[in-house]
C-alpha cells in the first residue's frame, strides 16, 4: 500500500525523506567500498525485473482475484541488503514519477516503508536466521513467508503511523491499524509463497546465484552492525521529527485534534497585505459580512481565532466558495485559450 501526498503533512514527509536520503547515501558508500563493479548492472536489471515481473499475474487461491509480486525480499535475497535498498528506492522513484503512485513528497515514506524493513530487518533477522548456511527448500519457503510477513506488516504499520502523525484524516489509530494489518497479512502470505517458489526454482538450477556475505561468515557481527545503523537512523529521524514538531507545531499538534479552520494563517500586517485588504474592502459589496457563525468544537479557541484576518465564518466561506468556482472557471478558460491558439499556430505551420 503506497502512502499518498494528499494524506501527508510536510513535517512527516520531510522527516521520512531525510531518513531515506541518509540511508541511500549510506548504502552508496557501503557499495563503493565493499563490492565489485559487477553489482551495478545487476542491480539495475533487477530493478527492471521487478517491473516486468509485476506484469505476470497469478490467481490468489480462495479469493479468485489475481495478484502480482512486490519483490522487496526477493531483491534482497539476490542482491544483499545494501544494493537491494538502492534498487528498491529507484524502482519506487520511477513508479512515483510514471504511475503517480503516491507522489513525490510521499516517496520518502514509501521508500522507507517498502525498503528499510525487508532489507535491514526481515532479511537479516528472519530470512537469514531461518535458512542459515544449509538452505533446504522447506527452510527457504518458511523463511520467505515469515520474512515477507514481518517486512510488509512493519511497512503497513508505518503507513498507519505516517497517516496518523500527519493528521489529515480522521481515522483513529486503532481502527486504521486493525484494518491495515490483517489485509497486509493476507497479501504477505501470498507474496511470501511466490517469493519462496521463485527462490527454490532458481536455487535448483543455479545454486550460487544468491547474495552471500562471504567476506565474513560471522552473521552475528553483521547483525550488530545493522542494528547499530538502524538505531542511529531512528535517532536521527526522531530528532528531526521532534525538531520540526517544535518549530512548526502545525504538523504534529494538528493531529491532536485542534481543528478550527485555518489555524495556520497568522494575520499579516505588512504594507503589502494592508494595501490588498484596503483594496478588498473598497471593491467588496458587502465588506465584513458574516453569514452565520460556525459551530466550533472549541468555543474559546474560536473566540481567539475570530479576529484573525481570514477568520472562519459563513461569509468568508461563501466568498471562498464563490471565489473558488470563479478561479476554477478562469483557470479552465486560460487553459483552453492557450490550447486553442497552439492548435491554430500548429495548423498554420503545416
Amino acid at each position: 500500500m503506497h502512502m499518498a501526498d494528499a494524506l501527508l503533512s510536510p513535517t512527516v514527509g520531510l522527516s521520512f525523506w531525510a531518513g531515506t536520503i541518509a540511508t541511500i547515501s549510506y548504502c552508496a558508500r557501503k557499495l563503493k567500498n565493499e563490492f565489485n563493479d559487477k553489482i551495478i548492472p545487476l542491480m539495475g536489471v533487477m530493478g527492471a525485473f521487478i517491473f516486468a515481473g509485476q506484469m505476470i499475474n497469478f490467481t490468489i487461491p480462495a479469493t479468485g482475484s489475481s495478484g502480482h509480486i512486490g519483490g522487496g525480499l526477493l531483491l534482497t535475497i539476490v542482491l544483499g541488503p545494501w544494493a537491494a535498498f538502492i534498487s528498491i528506492a529507484s524502482v519506487l522513484f520511477i513508479q512515483a514519477l510514471f504511475f503517480a503512485d503516491g507522489g513525490l513528497l510521499a516517496l520518502g515514506c514509501n521508500i522507507w516503508n517498502l525498503g528499510i524493513y525487508p532489507c535491514f530487518i526481515a532479511y537479516p533477522l528472519v530470512y537469514k536466521l531461518i535458512t542459515g548456511s544449509n538452505n533446504s527448500n522447506k527452510k527457504i519457503m518458511i523463511g520467505s513467508i515469515l520474512g515477507v510477513i514481518l517486512g510488509l506488516e512493519m511497512g503497513a504499520f508505518s503507513v498507519v503511523l505516517e497517516t496518523v502523525f500527519s493528521g489529515i484524516t480522521e481515522l483513529p489509530f486503532l481502527t486504521f491499524t486493525s484494518i491495515m494489518l490483517p489485509i497486509h497479512l493476507l497479501i504477505a502470505v501470498v507474496e511470501g509463497i511466490v517469493t519462496g517458489t521463485i527462490v527454490i526454482y532458481v536455487k535448483n538450477i543455479q545454486p550460487d546465484l544468491f547474495y552471500s556475505d562471504n567476506k565474513s561468515n560471522n552473521t552475528l557481527l553483521n547483525l550488530k552492525k545493522v542494528l547499530v545503523a538502524m538505531s542511529v537512523l531512528a535517532l536521527i529521524t526522531g530528532g528531526m521529527l521532534s525538531w520540526f514538531a517544535s518549530t512548526h507545531p502545525d504538523g504534529l499538534e494538528w493531529s491532536m485534534g485542534k481543528i478550527s479552520g485555518r489555524e495556520e494563517l497568522p494575520p499579516k500586517e505588512d504594507i503589502f497585505h494592508k494595501t490588498l485588504s484596503k483594496l478588498q474592502e473598497k471593491t467588496a459589496f458587502l465588506p465584513d459580512y458574516g453569514f452565520k457563525k460556525p459551530e466550533m468544537a472549541e468555543p474559546e479557541k474560536a473566540e481567539s481565532e475570530k479576529e484573525a484576518w481570514p477568520a472562519v465564518s459563513g461569509g468568508t466561506s461563501i466568498a471562498g466558495i464563490l471565489g473558488g468556482i470563479l478561479t476554477l472557471g478562469i483557470t479552465i478558460l486560460i487553459g483552453s485559450v492557450i490550447k486553442f491558439f497552439r492548435k491554430r499556430s500548429l495548423t498554420n505551420t503545416y
Partner: protein, 266 residues
C-alpha cells in the same frame, strides 16, 4: 500499485511525450524539478480544512498541460486509474467528523466532507504535477537534475539502468504472457506455482543478461563509475522560471486569492 501491460504501454507513451519540443520541454530539467517540488510542498502545507486556497493552484497544471501540448486524457486517465489509497482512507473523514463547520443557505456542511474534498483536491494537484513533470522532461533529464541536486551516482545509475531495461524486459514478458495464454485454458496456467516458475526463469535470464551487460561495459572501459552527463547550461529563463513560479506559489499559499476574487463579487 500494480504494473500491468496497459501501464507498460502508458510508460512508452509518456516517454514519447517527454521528447516533444515546446517552451516547457526546452526548460532546464533542474528548473522544472525544483518548481514541481515547491508546488507540491506548498499544496501539502495547507491545513486539512482548506479548499478555497487550493483552487488557484490548479492554474499550474492547467497552463502546463496547455503549453506543453500534453493530451489531457492521459493525465485524467492516470488520475482515475491510480491507486485510490488516499481516497479510500479519506472517505472515513465524513463519517467520523460530523461537526458542522460552515452552513450554506441553511444546509450545514460537516468538517469531514470539507477535509475529504480538500484531500481530493490535494490528490489531483500533487499527482498531476508529478505526471506533468515526467511528460515534459525526458527521464535522463530528471536523472541529471537529481545528480546535480546531490543524489549519489550509483542511485542515478540505477534509475538509468532500470529505465533502459524496463522496455526490453517488458517486451519479453508480453511475449511470455502470450505464450502462457496460448498454452492454458480457462483458469489454468495462473496458479502460483506456474507463475513462480515463470518468474524464476525470467529472473535467471535477467541475471544472465546483466552478466553480458557487464562484459560489454568492461569492453568499453568501465571502471566502476560512469560519468553520465555533460554539463548543461542553466540559462536565464530557467532561473526566471524558478523564481517567478516559486514566488507565485508562495504568494498563493499566503494570500487567499479565491476569497479575494469572491469578495469582489459579493
Amino acid at each position: 500499485m500494480s504494473f500491468n501491460q496497459s501501464e507498460f504501454f502508458d510508460l512508452g507513451y509518456l516517454d514519447y511525450l517527454s521528447y516533444k519540443d515546446t517552451f516547457i520541454h526546452r526548460l532546464d530539467p533542474r528548473a522544472k524539478f525544483i518548481v514541481t517540488l515547491v508546488f507540491i510542498f506548498m499544496v501539502i502545507s495547507f491545513p486539512k480544512h482548506e479548499i478555497s486556497g487550493l483552487i488557484p493552484f490548479l492554474i499550474f497544471p492547467v497552463i502546463l498541460v496547455a503549453l506543453a501540448d500534453i493530451p489531457i486524457k492521459i493525465i485524467l486517465k492516470k488520475l482515475i486509474v491510480v491507486s485510490p489509497f488516499a481516497l479510500m482512507v479519506g472517505i472515513f473523514n465524513p463519517m467520523l467528523d460530523r461537526k458542522i463547520l460552515i452552513s450554506l443557505f441553511g444546509i450545514g456542511i460537516s468538517g469531514g466532507w470539507i477535509s475529504y474534498l480538500s484531500i481530493i483536491i490535494k490528490f489531483i494537484l500533487t499527482i498531476s504535477s508529478a505526471l506533468i513533470l515526467i511528460a515534459t522532461t525526458s527521464f535522463p533529464g530528471i536523472c541529471m537534475a537529481m545528480e546535480n541536486l546531490g543524489m549519489p551516482n550509483i542511485f542515478i545509475l540505477q534509475l538509468m539502468f532500470i529505465y533502459r531495461y524496463i522496455f526490453i524486459l517488458g517486451e519479453e514478458v508480453v511475449r511470455t504472457n502470450n505464450a502462457r495464454e496460448l498454452r492454458s485454458f480457462g483458469k489454468k496456467g495462473y496458479e502460483i506455482l506456474t507463475a513462480g516458475n515463470i518468474l524464476g526463469s525470467l529472473l535467471l535470464r535477467t541475471i544472465d543478461r546483466s552478466e553480458r551487460i557487464y562484459q560489454a561495459m568492461c569492453a568499453r572501459g568501465f571502471n566502476g563509475k560512469i560519468n553520465l552527463f555533460k554539463k548543461s547550461r542553466f540559462l536565464l529563463k530557467d532561473f526566471l522560471y524558478i523564481i517567478l513560479l516559486s514566488g507565485f506559489f508562495i504568494f498563493l499559499r499566503l494570500f487567499p486569492l479565491s476569497q479575494f476574487i469572491g469578495k469582489m463579487f459579493i
